[in-house]
């Protein structure tokens, strides 16, 4: 055995010698605090200013008629925005319907199964690494790149033309990395003890994933999906080159259309109706804010339910 603990000499001088003057430490603390406060204030102020400007400009335009009449087209920008609201809704539903199963499936594979596969084969391990890096990179690629890709593949090569389907497929490519990453995070956050508990009862790995892991990860996955919804509502460039820009109501998957964000862009760049662009922008911002409130609300409710505070 090593020497008895009672023989160990304790050295107590170091901290006392190293102590610098209290006044200096408090000064640096104050400076740091002032800087942090200023940074926070400026960031919030800029945000409030932008939103405030758009809302005050836009609100004057908004009335029931503006919301319920169709855009008439032309340089004067006559009409309202009704069809763009419906088109945005179609686009969101279509995109999410394509991207969610793929994204969540990919995340389940990466978190629950990839580790095993990586140990078994070096080639698989390499492919998975490339896929992971690919997801990371794609999450940061500008949306217009996805647009060009969608234009080349869906619009031209697959001859889907400017259509809801082309836009939905391209949009799905755009949000896929977001959904994969948020779902991965959500799955990784599920405690290992849940998995062990389920496996120890004789459930298979698949049963464990479906009945325990996925439900526990659902709040996080939903957050990712809602973030994606926001992204689709807000994106313009990608849909400019895949959805076309027709102000008519799409009648089927192969019709062209115009989302709200695209409408803002077209009104501002091609017509004289700048105030209507502002009006549409105000509706757009309101939608995004509502969406964020929904994220907050749902994730809090889910968290409460997980902790058993709420039935």
């Amino acid at each position: 055995m090593s020497k008895p603990i009672s023989d160990v000499q304790l050295e107590r001088r170091t901290v006392q010698q190293a102590t610098s003057s209290l006044a200096r430490r408090q000064l640096s603390q104050r400076v740091a605090f002032a800087f942090v406060w200023l940074a926070g204030f400026l960031a919030v102020a800029a945000l409030v200013w932008i939103i405030g400007y758009v809302m005050t400009q836009g609100v004057q335009m908004i009335n029931l008629e503006f919301l319920t009449t169709r855009p008439a087209g032309g340089v004067s920008g006559e009409g309202g925005m009704s069809t763009t609201i419906v088109t945005t809704l179609y686009l969101v539903v279509l995109t999410i319907a394509i991207a969610t199963p793929l994204g969540v499936g990919a995340a389940i594979y990466l978190v629950e199964y990839a580790g095993e596969a990586q140990r078994e084969s070096r080639l698989v391990s390499y492919i998975i690494k490339v896929a992971r890096t690919g997801v990371e990179i794609l999450a940061g690629v500008p949306s217009i790149i996805f647009g060009l890709f969608g234009f080349a593949l869906f619009v031209s090569f697959m001859k889907l033309k400017f259509s809801l389907l082309s836009a939905g497929l391209s949009g799905a490519c755009l949000v896929l990395p977001v959904i994969i990453r948020t779902s991965e995070e959500a799955l990784l956050a599920v405690p290992r003890s849940y998995r062990e508990g389920s496996l120890a009862l004789g459930a298979t790995k698949w049963q464990t994933n479906v009945s325990v892991v996925l439900p526990a990860a659902t709040p996080g996955i939903i957050t990712g999906v809602i973030l994606s919804v926001g992204r689709i509502i807000a994106e313009t460039a990608i849909f400019w080159v895949t959805l076309g820009g027709s102000y008519r109501l799409p009648t089927n998957l192969l019709s062209s259309g115009r989302s709200m964000a695209l409408h803002v862009y077209m009104l501002a760049s091609e017509t004289r109706a700048f105030e209507k662009a502002m009006g549409t922008a105000a509706i757009l911002i309101t939608t995004i804010v509502l969406l964020n409130l929904i994220i907050n609300f749902t994730s809090r409710r889910f968290a409460a339910r997980m902790m058993g505070r709420n039935r």
Partner: protein, 257 residues
């Protein structure tokens, strides 16, 4: 011990994590419908040994083993792991109820094994909760989340969950270490009832618990190369009153560990 029927027969059993040997040459017979406790200092492989019986070690990458374990004469590593875990249940160190209702927590195992009949499920849930001494406290709240219960109740819920699949063996990995003394005593009382039907193997850090609650005790220690080995095994009364090994005596009297 000769008169006891053996439930689990372990022969020259070793476990490796990669190159590191975690357990060395364990040979032991665990009797049926008795409580066998495993004691020993931290890191001596108690949990590793326990987790061999339901092959939870399979979940850890690069784990391998040598030697054999037989349950009722059947090679543990020859049977399907899902089937094995149905027969060998486990209760973990920290209560780990699923974020589901109390009912769904207990019904989880039977459902996983294909039982869909609601009336039968309700019957199993009630019986399991009664056997786990939790029924009277939760019978009106079966739709409440399992996570809303206190720590001790959560652990009994986990025991009920394990009982619901009707296992033959129940493994417990320090089941009371996260609980207060009163909840601990309730779990220990519960063990005495459960041993009428189940073979129980329990890892514990708490020597008094091993002395109070178990019929047989095995004492593990860590060798120089950090591999765990079995020092002594026998009826609990003998281990605690007249141990054969000096090491055992030092440990139970608190000289090390």
């Amino acid at each position: 011990m000769e008169s006891m029927k053996t439930k689990l027969k372990v022969q020259d059993f070793s476990v490796f994590y990669g190159d590191f040997q975690a357990l060395r040459d364990i040979t032991i017979d665990i009797p049926i419908r008795q409580i066998t406790s495993i004691i020993g200092p931290s890191g001596c492989g108690k949990s590793t040994f326990l987790r061999a019986f339901n092959r939870m070690n399979d979940l850890i990458p690069n784990t391998s083993h040598e030697g054999q374990i037989f349950m009722d004469g059947q090679d543990l590593f020859g049977v399907d792991v899902v089937e094995l875990r149905k027969r060998v249940g486990m209760v973990f160190q920290r209560p780990n109820p699923f974020p589901k209702t109390i009912f769904d927590n207990v019904a989880y195992g039977p459902r996983a094994h294909g039982l869909r009949d609601r009336a039968k499920l309700a019957e199993i849930v009630e019986r399991s909760l009664r056997d786990a001494a939790l029924w009277d406290e939760v019978k009106d709240d079966l739709n409440k989340s399992g996570l809303a219960l206190s720590g001790g109740q959560q652990q009994r819920l986990c025991i009920a969950r394990a009982l619901a699949v009707e296992p033959e063996v129940i493994l417990m990995d320090e089941p009371a270490s996260a609980l207060d003394p009163i909840a601990t005593l309730r779990i220990e009382e519960l063990l005495q009832t459960l041993k009428k039907n189940y073979t129980i193997v329990i890892v514990t850090h708490n020597m008094q618990q091993a002395a109070r609650a178990s019929d047989y005790t095995m004492f593990f220690n860590m060798a120089e190369d950090r591999a765990g080995y079995l020092v002594e095994y026998g009826p609990t009364a003998e281990i605690f009153t007249k141990p054969r090994e000096k090491l055992t005596e030092d440990y139970i009297t608190g000289r090390f560990g």
